[in-house]
């Protein structure tokens, strides 16, 4: 198990390094002069040249890459071109907010989607299974921005139950929770459908396996067979999916943050793109990659821990 964990960790690290390198190279080959954008149209060529040397842009790419990684290891992601704040501070400020949003969104989706999938599998092809199926597909096909806007219209504007924008007062926990509900609802909505369909499919597959028939031959209650004997196996692909979904949600939380005007990675990234604030963009993208890789790593390790073959074999 520990060897396996170490292997997976090494792989994750490699993925991070490679994707960061690719990202860096893309930024390098993209046409356009960063100094021209940073200094504006009225800058003289001499001023641009001075900045280029100061930013190390004159060096060959491998030297730049080396500088980039060595400062990365020191936790230095550069400074915001406009405000001169260290980018790492911006990441520290925004990333947790987005992560909380993604966790809540996916959390309620899993809490509802997994039991729905189990129930569908037990009641396969009966009326309630069909109804759940129709709703699941409808949820999957609803674009999340639409869910967000309608949720906003119904619960914030018409009913006025929940606040429409912002993340709540800093320090006021209750207020922050109330502000979290609508965005989390919006980004988790489609995932309820995905998860219920996935769990139903894997569950049906497992329920058809011989060992389930063997357990039935002992007269074990059907609920116990489903929840203990089958779910333990059927949930494994779901965990893998959740790991990837969480990473994916970090980026798809962008629209929710924009629609609900919540501070977070998405908001800041959008602002950085609009103002050509490359260090901030780079820092936010890097941290998203890092979190994504860590999530898939955790999911992999969790699956391994639940599978006795891997847990005891390695």
């Amino acid at each position: 198990m520990w060897l396996y964990a170490l292997q997976r960790f090494g792989m994750a690290l490699l993925v991070c390094v490679l994707s960061v390198t690719v990202l860096f190279c893309i930024a390098y080959v993209i046409p356009g002069d960063p100094t021209a954008i940073a200094l504006g149209p009225r800058a003289t060529p001499a001023m641009r040249e001075a900045l280029r040397i100061r930013m190390g842009l004159g060096e060959p790419i491998y030297i730049q890459l080396y500088h980039f990684f060595s400062s990365l290891l020191r936790g230095d992601l550069g400074v915001d071109v406009w405000s001169n704040r260290p980018v790492i501070d911006i990441v520290k400020e925004t990333l947790p907010k987005t992560m909380i949003l993604a966790v809540t969104g996916l959390g309620w989706a899993a809490a509802l989607g997994i039991p729905l999938g189990c129930y569908s599998a037990i009641r396969r092809n009966k009326l309630d299974d069909r109804i759940i199926g129709i709703f699941s597909i409808a949820m999957i096909s609803t674009p999340s921005f639409l869910t967000a806007i309608y949720a906003l219209l119904v619960f914030a504007v018409t009913l006025n139950w929940l606040p429409a924008i912002g993340a709540g007062e800093p320090g006021n926990f209750g207020d922050q929770v109330v502000h979290l509900i609508l965005p989390a609802f919006a980004i988790g909505f489609a995932w309820v459908g995905y998860l219920s369909r996935l769990v139903r499919a894997t569950m049906l597959e497992v329920l058809n396996e011989t060992h389930i028939r063997f357990s039935r031959a002992f007269g074990l209650p059907e609920w116990k067979i489903t929840l203990k004997y089958a779910l333990k196996i059927a949930v494994l692909p779901t965990i893998t999916l959740l790991g990837m979904a969480y990473g994916g949600l970090l980026s798809s939380a962008v629209f929710a943050e924009i629609i609900f005007n919540r501070p977070g990675v998405g908001q800041s990234a959008l602002a950085a793109v609009n103002t050509r604030n490359y260090p901030v963009m780079m820092g936010l993208t890097l941290s998203t990659i890092f979190v994504f890789t860590m999530c898939t790593l955790i999911a992999d390790l969790l699956v391994a821990a639940l599978d006795p073959k891997i847990r005891k074999g390695l």
Binding site: H211, F214, S215, A217, F218, G219, K224, D307, K309
Partner: protein
Amino acid sequence: MSSKMEMEKNAPVLEINNLSVGFNGARGQAIAVKDVSLTVPPGKVVGIVGESGSGKTTLISAALGLISRQTAEITGKVKFEGRDILNMSERELRAIRGTDIAMIFQDPMTALNPSMSIGTLMTDIQYRDRGVSMTEKRRKAVEMLRHVGIPDPESRLTQYPHEFSGGMRQRICIAMALLGQPRLLIADEPTTALDVTMEAQIIHLLRKLQRDFHTSIVFVSHNLGIIAEICDYVAVLYAGCLVEQGEVDHIFHNPQHPYTKALLACDPALLPEQVTDFPAIPGEVPGPFDRPTGCIFQARCNLAADICRQVSPPLRPVEANHAAACHMAKGI
């Protein structure tokens, strides 16, 4: 029932009367089992032998109420210790399974849940004993594992199915099946997936346990050698029909039905050494949709006469405790 098996003094454990199973499909009804009657006396081993697709598994599944009435048309009667199984509710059936009737399956590699330890599997199936403590349940599990010949059972309780070999897993399945002290054990080709040495050990074990626990066994197999070794009675199934049944010695030494004779002639274990051509029965088993009128075996039978093409032969006694469904067999 024309067999004299029912002359046994004790009431039978399982009694199947004129059981037919048909599956309704787009092409009409597929008949998997036709008019089978079979009796399992207490403490005896009854073998069901037949080729693949002869309806062995369908027969026992239907007899245990494992086939849903929604998908199949089931007629006839199945009685377990006098109780009608076919009309039981799912709840009543569940109450019987594991305590009165237990099953072991063909492939021990897939029969045990891979995500649970042997100890969990074995204590879980004792869920009916509510008052019994966990330590007591584990003790019973250990005792049963020792009984089926698993060395060092205490420490193996924490292990998972993948840590056992195929033969060991089948032993565990048998231990689990016997934990509820069932009066009837259904063994559906329990050695087919094992290699030959393991096969012999498992057969030996089943024989021993059958004596120790006085359990009746229905042993399904296509291997005549194993049937001969373990069974008291044999029923030969061909295309869903019972063609011959009786005491194992009679069947093997004095087969009356041409199919049984051909089957015995094809058994590689009984062939003289150095044969270049393996004998085979010419023709094909009739499909479930196109069953002939008259005898089910006529198309492949070298004795077939006009009567065989017109009248389906009933199962009739040919000697004591031996019956065959053939017009050509000499009756008593």
